[in-house]
Amino acid sequence: MTIQTAAPLELLQAAEREYEVDNDRESARLLAEATTALFDMLAESRGISLSDDYSAMARELDKRAGNGRHHYVIRLGAGEHLLEHAETGGMEDYGMVEWLHITQGGFIRDTLRELGVDVPPAPAKWRWTYP
């Protein structure tokens, strides 16, 4: 499988543009896509076989991190919640939309930087400020 290494960043930036104009269901869809694209990049960089089983991939990434955490499993789950929000708007019920955008955007940025991608700073709307 050939990986489009620029795809996660492009998808993230497209999500940022949609979120800027309050189109949070489309931005959620784009962030969910960016998440799986990022997992493809992570798998390739760590020598893990690519497949459609992202859960297995996330578990393997956590296992290799070796700290007993479930970081990648949880971030993959956040991507699933984002997709659900895109399809049903259901995450608004839990007040999670802003949380999912900022934390998942941060995860994608940080991971891309770890992988050597030049990532510009996050727009203001993607940073926490006091309410």
């Binding site: 955490r69 479930h70 499993v73 949880i74 802003e98 900022i102 934390t103 926490w128 006091y130 309410p131």
Partner: protein, 132 residues
Amino acid sequence: MTQPDGEYVRRAEWHLSMVGVYRADANLLLQRGSLHSAGTLLYESTKQCLNAVTNKRGHNPVYTRQKMRYLGVIVNQRLDSQSVLEDGWQAALKLHIHADRGNLADDAFESNWRDAQMFIDNMLEIYAEEES
């Protein structure tokens, strides 16, 4: 940082005590196999952590969305704990959703439970540091 007045301090101490109460009850319910109720109470314990730390700082967020924003600010100040706090809160939210929908498989419940517990441990450390 300005010192919070007595009302905030009293609220912080109350919320801190409820962190322990909800967590202990959650652990008991887990032992009894009442996973939905256990998850709900552990989620409540994580929220009480946020209430305790924010009141200790002189803020009293009411709505969950406000609490999440305060958590975001705490995360920005604690970059060494960023991943544990963000993942732990996400895990607690999943336990909360599971109580509504019953959507987590056993292994997913277990991993979210552990990460939510780590969140509570970290927040208790942050609270203790605020006191010193």
